[in-house]
Each structure stands twice: as C-alpha cells, then as structure tokens.
Amino acid sequence: MSCHRRLSTLGVSLVALAAAGGAVAHEHDGQSPGAPVTSVREYDVPAVRLVRADGKVVSLPEEMNDGRPVVLNFIFTTCGTICPAMSSVFEQFEHRLGTDAATAHLMSISIDPEQDTPERLVEYARRFHAGPEWQHYTGTLDASVTAQRAFGVYRGAKMSHAAVTLLRAAPGKPWLRIDGLVTPDQLVREYRDLLAARSGARPVSSRR
C-alpha cells in the first residue's frame, strides 16, 4: 500500500507538474478546451460491495448488470470544480432524454467514500435533481479504490482526479470511455449511438 502510495505520489507530482506546464497551453484564458477523447475499452467489473445512497449494501456487478445501459462517473461531494460540472451534465442528460431516461442507469461512485456518507450523497443528488434512475454509491475506501482501478480512473488522491464518463449499452458489451468534460449534447449523442449499435442499427455518427 505504501509502495503504491509512493508511486502514486510520484505520478501525481508528475501530473501536477505537467498540469502546471500544460495549463499554459490548455484550458485557460483564450483557449477552448481540447475536445473529449473517446475510446472503446474492456473492463472487468470487480466484485465489490458498495453502499447506495439509500443505505442499501449492494454488489457492484449486480448493480451494473441488470440489463440496462449504464452511464458511469466518479465524483466526490466536496469537489468544487469538475464534479459539479460532470453532475450537471448528468442532470441535463436525464432532462434531454426525457421519458427515455428511465431505461438508463446512471451511476456515480464516490472517490472520497469516508467523507461521502449515504446522507451526503442524498444531499448531493438532490442538488442535481437526480431522477430515480441515477444512483450514487459509497462504501469502504478499499471498495472505492478497487472500483476506480478497475475502470482506470484511480489517481491516488481525490484532488488529482480527472473528468471521465463511461458508457455501456448492455452487460457483456464493451465500454465507451470519454476522457474530458463531455457536453450534454455529446453525451446524449454517444448514448443514442451506443444503443443503436446494440440493436444492430447503423450508428448515426461514426466512431473511432
């Protein structure tokens, strides 16, 4: 664990240095952000137990594999910048899908589970007017880290996190990973394409 921490710390320092240098070129006054990067990935959903915001202890694979398409992100409730943006996008996604939203499963997993109790998740969900198909999860630190690692989002410390959204049309299908801040329009489009592909229809937009 300490070895991981040291490596993570080094990694984080490098990322921070890169960010400080990179920040001059990106995401700043006068520069629009780079477009989000999409890629297709395979992930093994780890068999961890998480605690849902309603207090129920659940199995992550069971939550994810109930047949519904999944839209997944990782947040923490005291995050000031990235998480409110990502959660606003989920809120808008629900809004724009309208009645179709009920067939999706939006999942937000806390990367600060010791602070993010179920009560705090409920409060956070309320901030973004989460519908019943959007659930927030916490649990032990170990379970959260295992989930983060499984989806390639673990950065060692919550302040080092980045915006990532993951979509999967159905259990057994590959995941679409979107690195960067995706707009509601983009997310809705990617989601619809993904569902169309699942049912065999030709996707509306081409994908890399």
């Binding site: 960010a19 920040a23 995401e27 006054d29 006068g30 520069q31 629009s32 005291t78 995050c79």
Partner: protein, 551 residues
C-alpha cells in the same frame, strides 16, 4: 480604487474580512462583492446565475466564484484542470518583457501569458466569457448575468483579495500561537509544549538563505522576498484563564498585542468552542488542536481538526449498538463526570440513539466527587435486574475506571472511550476487560507501523519524555504538516491559502502519525473520518482493515 476603499480594504485584511469591518461604515459595494464571490447572491438578494457554452446553468452558491477560485482567490489545480488566480494583482499586472509575471508570488495555476485586464475588460470577462485579448475563456468558466453595480462590486472585491500585509508575518519571522484552556490536563500540556518548543527550536536552527524562484518558463530568479518556508518561527503560548465566557475577550486581546499568522496545535479540557469561534471569525487558521470535543461545523473554513474525538467515539458506539438495524441493546446506561468531555459524548450518543428503540439513562458524577461516592454511583450504574439487552457506556478517565475494581458486578456489555480512558494501558480492572469494548479514534498500536514510528524516533533522539503519547504524536504531526504546507506556499502569505494548500496536499502524505490516513477538502474540517472498536480482552490482537468504522 479610492484611498478610502483601500484603507478599508487594509483594515478588512487585518481582521480577516470579518463582519465587524463591514459594520464599521463600509461602502455597500464591499459587502455585495463578497456575497457574490462567496455565496452566489447578488446585491438585490437574488441567486447568481452562471451559464456555460453547453447551456449548463449554475445558480446561487453552486455558481459562486469561491468554488473554483477558492477563498484566497488564488485558484487551484485539480487533476489536469488549472483554475487561475483572480485577485487584483494577478488580473491587472502587466507582463514583463519576457512574458513572465515575475514579481508576483508564485502560484501553481498562474500564467501571465496574456495582456493585463482593466476594469472594462474584466467586466467583459465576467459577463461575456472573453479574456483580456478577446479570446474565449476556459470551458468551465461560466458567463454571469450581472448588472453594472454588481459587476463593479465584484471587481472591487477581487482587488480586496490582494494581500498586502498579513499579521504575524514579518520579513524573517512567522508568528504562531498555541492556545491552552485553563481546564487542560497539566501532564498533556507539559508534553505538548515540550514537542512544540523542540520543533520550533529545530526549525530555527536552519540559517536564512535567499529563496530561488522558478517559473514555468524554466528560468530561475531570486525572489525579492523570502519564501514562507525559510522564515523562522516564533511561538506564543496563550494560556487562557477563568470562565469560558471570558476566553474570547482574552484571545482578542492576545491577538491585538501579539499578532499571529495562525494558531498551531493547542490543548483543551472539555470546551474549545470559544477558540474555534475566535479563529473562524478572525480569519485565522486553527491547525489541529488537541481537543476531545471539537466544534462540528463542516462549513466553517479556518479551524481544522484531526478527528471528532469523543463525538466520533459516540458515533462508533451507536453504530456498533444499532448494528444492521437490530439494536444489540434495548437499554443503554451512560456514566460521565459533569463538565468533562464525557458530557458532550453522552449527549452525542443519546442523539444518535434517539428514535431507534433504545432507552438511554445517565449517571452523572458531580465534578468534585471522589472516593466512596464514586464507587456507589458506579455500582448502581453497573447493576441491573436483567442484563440482557443492556449496555453500559463509560465516558470516564483512568482514575474513575480504576475505581471499578470495587464494583464486582460486571455487566455483559461495556463500552469505554479509548480516548478518555486509555486503550491498551487502560486502568480498567481485568474482570471488566473481559466484557469491554473500547472505542478508539486512532490506529491501534499493531497497525501504526512506520506512520507513527517516525515521531517516536524523533522524540527519542531529542530525549522528549513520552508523558502523553497521543497528544504529543498529534502535536508533532500538526507541526510537520505546517512545515510541509509552508513549503508549498512559496512567498504567498494569504491565510486562506494556507488552509487551501493543506486541503490539497494532505492526502499525499505517507507519515500520518497515529491515523491510518488524513484527507481534507472544502467543507471538510476533520481529517480522519473513522475509528476502531477494540475488544479489551485482546487489545493487542490482530485487527483487520475491515474493523475500521466510518460512521
């Protein structure tokens, strides 16, 4: 900015922008700017509205500048996202001819690669999302629907955020205070002061040297002012006297005569509230005092604690008793001494158990009670006609726990506070240990490892006597964290920045003393979130990570 406004701004800085400053006839604009920046409320009392390119709208406190640009206005770095500083200096400063902005204190998210703003261009940035050169601002920066008066007020506030001079910071020295309340334990006090004095002396044994400065351009320059980290420390010991109602006035007087930059460590008896409120209202970071019963106010900014102490322990007891919704006990008897930390703990536990089908009784030992009176009270509390479904919770110190040797009837289920009564070294009689669970807000000794060894080695080398190991370890940890965070601050003195940097760096630390891990963020005041419940019949037994409970 008028001279009047400037003077007001300076005065505000000296009292940390506390309400009294505004009350003293401040221009209306000052309050409005702050309300927009910190709370997302406009001059008319309406919710601030911020809109981003993709149509995402944030309102009120979710739109407030502070969320991204921080209380100090110096911005932050979150992963790959860099939020720039927006205090007046950073916005209005002209570029040097090599493109850098070398005379301003270094902040990680700083870039000077643009023309300076003026008031008009800044208003345009806030309302239309264009930078000083007309280019679109970063994607996350919203456009704000603000009228002229509100925009002017906000811009004035950004100029107020510039730090000109901070109390307790001189060219060569940083002044800190440690606060000790009159009911603090004398042995803990001595142990804490021993650690503080050694740490400060050692810090000051390093000679002054000029501070090199590096810029993103890779050039190195020697700073005109000395880095925070290189300054020497001066420690002021503020010993409070008399009743708690008088402490705030004493603290204000101390501050007036010996201005300090931050409050470091410190020691309470059962009450730290006046000190917490002093720090929050005066805008002074209050760094990890040794308190058993802290003030729980997650949305406060300046006070930081290692853990919730006995309040956490009460939550641990409640969590263990209530289990998975089926209470392990129907009746809980609590015992505490009036006026001691146990009183707050008992109150917290009663609140946790309210409405859960558990009856809670309390036996209160008067503050001065001793000898036979204590024995009788404890015997009464320990006895019960029906032991089933009953738990005894003792919020007592070692002296009272030792008295239990005269109480032969041991209940089935007993809880003690490890923080108050001691863990492995508790004076609880052997017959009682068999049935007792101790709550503990730290790692038990078998799990501490190198995280805690470091401090012990440090103490041993300097021949510091371990008279109060947990307090001394926590004091050393507070000093180390302060030293570390000053390293990150370059020559930036803003007090809120100290808190913000601590929040950013804390999670990366490997040496976390007696705590398994430490972590903070905005709206988080307690760095360690959980504890253990340890069966005393086998205190040294191996404990799995899964026994760590976060209530």
């Amino acid at each position: 900015m008028t001279a009047c406004h400037q003077a007001l701004g300076l005065a505000c800085l000296f009292v940390g922008l506390a309400p009294p400053c505004r009350a003293a006839g401040a221009a209306p604009a000052a309050g409005v700017g702050e309300a927009i920046y910190l709370r997302g409320v406009t001059g008319a009392g309406a919710q601030l509205v911020g809109t981003r390119d993709d149509g995402l709208v944030a309102t009120g406190v979710d739109a407030a500048c502070v969320s991204c640009h921080q209380r100090s206005g110096l911005g932050s770095v979150e992963g790959r996202l860099s939020v720039p500083p927006i205090t007046g200096n950073y916005l209005f400063h002209s570029r040097d001819h090599d493109g850098s902005v070398s005379s301003l204190p270094y902040v990680e998210s700083l870039h000077g690669n643009r023309d300076p703003y003026d008031d008009a261009k800044l208003a345009r940035a806030i309302r239309e999302g264009l930078d000083s050169q007309g280019r679109p601002l970063g994607y996350l920066m919203p456009r704000f629907a603000l009228g002229d008066a509100d925009t002017a007020a906000l811009i004035a506030y950004l100029k107020e955020l510039d730090v000109r001079q901070v109390p307790g910071v001189t060219d060569t020295l940083l002044h800190f205070a440690t606060v000790i309340t009159p009911d603090a334990d004398p042995v803990k006090r001595a142990g804490m002061l021993d650690v503080l004095e050694h740490f400060v002396a050692e810090k000051n044994s390093f000679p002054f040297k000029p501070s090199p400065r590096m810029w993103t351009s890779g050039k190195t320059q020697y700073s005109k002012s000395m880095y925070m980290a290189n300054r020497h420390w001066e420690l002021h010991v503020w010993e409070l006297t008399g009743p708690a109602a008088t402490w705030r006035a004493q603290l204000d007087r101390h501050l007036a005569t010996e201005p300090v930059y931050a409050v470091l460590s410190g020691l309470a008896g059962s009450n730290w509230s006046p000190v917490h409120e002093f720090c929050e209202q005066q805008g002074i970071p209050c760094l990890f005092p040794n308190v058993e019963s802290p003030v729980v106010a997650e949305r406060d900014f300046y006070p930081l604690y290692f853990s919730k102490g006995v309040l956490l322990e009460a939550q641990l007891v409640a969590r263990t008793l209530l289990g998975d919704g089926h209470p392990a006990a129907r009746v809980v008897e609590q015992v505490y001494r009036a006026g001691d930390s146990g009183e707050a703990a008992a109150r917290a536990l009663t609140a946790q158990l309210a409405g859960r089908g558990v009856t809670v009784h309390a036996t209160v030992l008067p503050a001065g009670a001793a000898g036979r009176a204590v024995t009788l009270a404890l015997r009464k509390a320990a006895m019960a006609e029906d032991e089933r479904g009953r738990a005894l919770v003792l919020w007592l110190r070692p002296a009272d726990l030792a008295t239990l040797a005269d109480v032969p009837a041991v209940p089935e289920t007993v809880y003690i506070s490890g923080l108050m009564g001691g863990l492995e070294k508790t004076s609880l009689p052997a017959a009682w240990r068999e049935h007792t669970l101790a709550t503990y807000p730290f790692d038990p000794p078998d799990r501490r490892g190198v995280r805690a060894q470091y401090a012990l080695g440090w103490f041993a080398f300097r021949r510091i006597q371990l008279v109060a190991p947990e307090v001394q370890a926590d004091t050393f940890l507070a000093c180390s964290l302060l030293a570390d965070v000053l390293n990150r601050m370059a020559d930036n003195f803003a007090r809120p920045f100290l808190v913000e940097q601590l929040q950013s760096m804390l999670e990366h630390r490997l040496i976390t003393g007696n705590y398994p891990r430490l972590s903070l963020a905005s709206n988080q005041r307690f760095a360690s979130k959980g504890g253990y419940v340890v069966p005393l019949r086998d205190p040294g037994g191996k404990r799995a990570e899964s026994n760590w409970i976060v209530p």
